[in-house]
């Protein structure tokens, strides 16, 4: 692989890895804050135990989110200096604001929260975790403002080969932000919901602390249900947005090679041949795509989804010869995996809530066992979702403004060997630390929340 390929691999692996930990941080901070608030409001000590128990799991997960975030910030300059020069005027703004507004809040008050149980008034202590939750989710907002510019550039002008910020309000009010941020937030809540439920399921399966973990289960399943449902609702509007603003991404998501007139079928499965630019086999549901979204009207007033081939021609007319097609197979299947995992989550959470309402959950051993493994679903969905969003935009780093070829650091500065070294180093480190982190999470998740002394929150 050349330096560009390696830099892309490093970006993809770092970002994917970082986002294994982030959604749980975003969602679980809110759920732990909720648990502690119930404790403060009602004086029910069981919720304090839950907040402490899940709070420690939060900390174990948080550590890796933070340290991979460091690489995340540095790699723009290290591997993508062309991008940084082109985009710094715009991209640096939300990034710096993220650090100043969100990271300080989150990390400062997490330290305070973790170390001041029973040392400050209860309400104040609960406020600390709320500040952590606000900080974490604010950081998501600001980094998504940055990402949204890459998907849908607004409020800028081009000058001397650089994109310059022309309107900060436009950057903030980018319609893409206000779809992507709620989508991410709800996905994070669903992730945390399934995480809380999976841990509770493990204990309930052993009929261990049934009262405590039934309460956790209720919180987890409810959050998992509402989160998955709202993710889907926002996702629908996002798809409409992609149809209109990133037609190539949409065509790749659906593997539409030739123009497709409405009423259009939805392809459930396709055997995609990217070289021949065709699908060798398709399993279609007639008319369904037109139920889900609508194609924009073309010059003849007809509603047609432009195919990849048409769009590529348009790109070549605009930007000169080149390859403007994203990895279609990857985008197509990532999208389907995301949707499928979301639907499964919705179904599982609904069944779980029903069983819970009928007091049959603890007896439903098979379902509890399934819920433990269902914790993987949001992780699969989150990853597949980002892959759809990011691979579907290739080869553009900034949609229609800057390609990856222009964005990468010149090889005279950072050679392929250097990127290889850092990629191998980071990958090994990620694998080792990820394994340790999951092992610690599992180990701690299986401990007894009532046995505080043994599992003290401590250094």
């Amino acid at each position: 692989m050349d330096a560009l390929g390696l830099a892309r691999f490093q970006f993809a692996s770092t970002t994917t890895y970082h986002f294994f930990f982030v959604p749980l941080t975003l969602g679980l901070s809110i759920l732990v804050a909720y648990m502690e608030t119930v404790y403060v409001a009602t004086g029910d000590a069981r919720y304090k135990k839950l907040a402490k128990f899940y709070g420690t799991l939060f900390m174990i997960n948080f550590a890796l989110g933070v340290v991979t975030g460091l690489v995340q910030e540095f790699q723009f300059g290290m591997n993508w200096s062309g991008y940084s020069r082109f985009m710094g005027d715009i991209f640096g703004v939300p990034l710096a604001i993220e650090a100043l507004l969100a990271f300080f809040l989150e990390s400062t008050f997490l330290g305070v929260w973790y170390f001041t149980w029973d040392k400050v008034p209860k309400g104040l202590h609960a406020l600390f975790i709320w500040l952590v939750a606000i900080g974490s989710n604010l950081s998501a907002l600001w980094i998504l403002i940055a990402n949204s510019f890459m998907q849908h550039p607004v409020g800028y002008r081009l000058e001397n080969g650089r994109a310059l910020l022309e309107s900060f309000p436009a950057l903030f009010l980018n319609p893409h932000v206000w779809l992507q941020f709620p989508h991410t937030l709800f996905a994070a809540l669903a992730t945390a919901g399934f995480f809380v439920a999976a841990v509770a399921a493990w204990h309930l399966l052993r009929e261990h602390r049934v009262d405590l973990f039934t309460r956790a289960m209720r919180i987890g399943l409810f959050t998992g249900f509402v989160g998955s449902l709202l993710v889907a609702v926002v996702g629908h509007y996002q798809a409409d947005f992609v149809v209109r603003h990133q037609p190539m991404k949409f065509a790749a998501m659906e593997a539409i090679w030739e123009d497709l007139a409405e009423p259009a079928p939805w392809t459930l499965y396709a055997a995609i041949d990217e070289k021949a630019q065709e699908n060798r086999f398709e399993l279609k549901l007639p008319g369904v795509l037109s139920l889900l979204t609508h194609a924009p009207e073309n010059e003849q007033g007809k509603r047609v989804f432009p195919g990849i081939k048409t769009l590529e021609k348009r790109y070549e007319e605009r930007f000169g010869p080149g390859h403007y097609v994203p990895p279609v197979k990857l985008t197509f299947f990532s999208f389907r995996v995301m949707v499928l995992s979301g639907l499964l989550m919705l179904l599982l959470a609904a069944v779980g809530l029903l069983l819970l309402a009928q007091n049959r959950l603890v007896a439903a051993k098979g379902f509890l066992a399934a819920l433990i493994w269902a914790v993987l679903l949001p992780y699969i969905g989150n990853t597949a979702g980002w892959w759809t969003a990011e691979f579907g935009r290739q080869p553009w780093m900034v949609q229609d403004l800057l390609t990856i070829y222009q964005g990468v650091t010149p090889e005279s500065v950072v050679s392929a060997g250097m990127v290889l070294l850092s990629s191998v180093g980071f990958t090994l480190l990620y694998l080792a630390l990820g394994a340790i982190d999951v092992w610690l999470l599992v180990r701690y998740a299986q401990s007894d929340p009532e046995a505080e002394a043994k599992t003290a929150l401590s250094y």
Binding site: F62, A63, V67, G88, A99, P410, L440
Partner: protein, 337 residues
């Protein structure tokens, strides 16, 4: 004062805060295998920075973000140019960060001593590399007309760069030892005091050599000349006062004095570089300055409003956390520790 200068000063302030706060964090990490003998003692040492190290590290992240926003060309040249050094630093910081979290989770001597080792290396290596990086900013690095770095990793490891590295280790160790003298349980504090006493002369001598080297590289010959001289004198006075108060046995004053030493040493470098952010050794014209490396006036204006509103707020609540955790930590970690 134009906004470019304002942002240069703000970046300087962020680095001053970063080196002041993470300076003692690194020092604590470097010292912890030496001032603690038992596992319980190690926990006490780590606990002195346990609640705050993460917030302190955000100073570095914010400094990076501020450079990206205000001086994108500087961010691009610096981060791509110092590639392998930054890679090593990131690996070290990752291992240190998870080390704090992982160490206590498994009660097994081999596990804990492994993460103790990572915390040590994860503090030593970034201290060294920051010293190397700052020294190379002072010395200048080969930057071409296209603003791209033309050297290699080895270019950075010149004698002055290495001097900067060991000077940073010595100064942060001294600063960290004074912090530990102030925070450790009384039964352990004497070991930290001895470490401070021992590192004081090394830190002072290396810091002075670093500044003299900077003089040779023109650090006191640019627009900020007067301020650079003033800050250098104050930095030296701070470190000397730290040594003096250490000898006098005043933990608090010794810590604040080395803190001022770190703050003014950082300020010296920035004042001396001004208006450059990265001088080029190839051609003075090719160096990056606060003008040719900066963002647009509009972006600088937006960022100025943001910084004016939120920086005081951050200082206020972060300062407040130090008040919450004031006093010495206790052995045996009572309460939630």
């Amino acid at each position: 004062m134009d906004l470019n200068t304002v942002w240069f000063a703000l970046v300087a302030v962020l680095f001053m805060g970063f080196f002041f706060l993470e300076g003692f964090d690194y020092g604590v990490g470097i010292l912890h295998p030496f001032v603690a003998r038992t596992d319980e003692e190690r926990r006490a040492v780590i606990h002195t920075i346990g609640p705050v190290w993460d917030g302190n590290e955000v100073w570095m992240i914010t400094a990076g973000g501020a450079i990206f926003a205000a001086f994108p060309q500087w961010y691009a040249t610096l981060f791509s140019g110092f590639y392998l050094a930054l890679f090593l630093m990131l690996v070290a910081l990752i291992l240190r960060g998870v080390g704090f979290e992982f160490r206590q989770k498994v009660d097994q001597p081999g596990w804990r001593s492994f993460w103790d080792g990572m915390i040590f290396l994860g503090s030593l290596v970034p201290a060294l590399l920051w010293g190397v990086a700052v020294a190379n900013l002072v010395r200048g690095v080969p930057i071409g007309a296209d603003m791209n770095y033309q050297g290699s990793f080895w270019t950075l490891l010149n004698p002055y760069g290495l001097l900067g590295g060991v000077a940073a280790i010595a100064v942060f160790t001294f600063h960290g030892a004074n912090f530990l003298s102030l925070k450790l349980p009384e039964a352990m504090a004497d070991r930290a005091r001895a470490a401070a006493q021992a590192s004081a002369p090394v830190a002072v001598i290396l810091a002075v050599l670093f500044v003299l080297g900077g003089y040779a590289y023109g650090l006191f010959g640019r627009e900020g000349q007067l301020l650079a001289y003033l800050f250098a004198v104050l930095a030296a006075l701070g470190l000397l006062a730290g040594w003096f108060f250490r000898a006098q046995g005043d933990d608090a004053l010794a810590f604040w004095a080395t803190g001022l030493g770190v703050l003014f040493a950082t300020a010296t470098v920035f004042a001396g570089l001004y208006p450059y952010v990265m001088p080029s050794t190839l051609n003075p014209e090719w160096g990056l300055t606060i003008h040719n490396a900066s963002a647009s006036p509009y972006t600088l204006r937006v960022m100025t409003y943001v910084a004016l509103v939120f920086t005081p707020l951050v200082l206020l609540y972060q300062g407040w956390t130090y008040w919450v955790f004031r006093g010495r930590v206790e052995l045996g970690g009572k309460g939630g520790y």
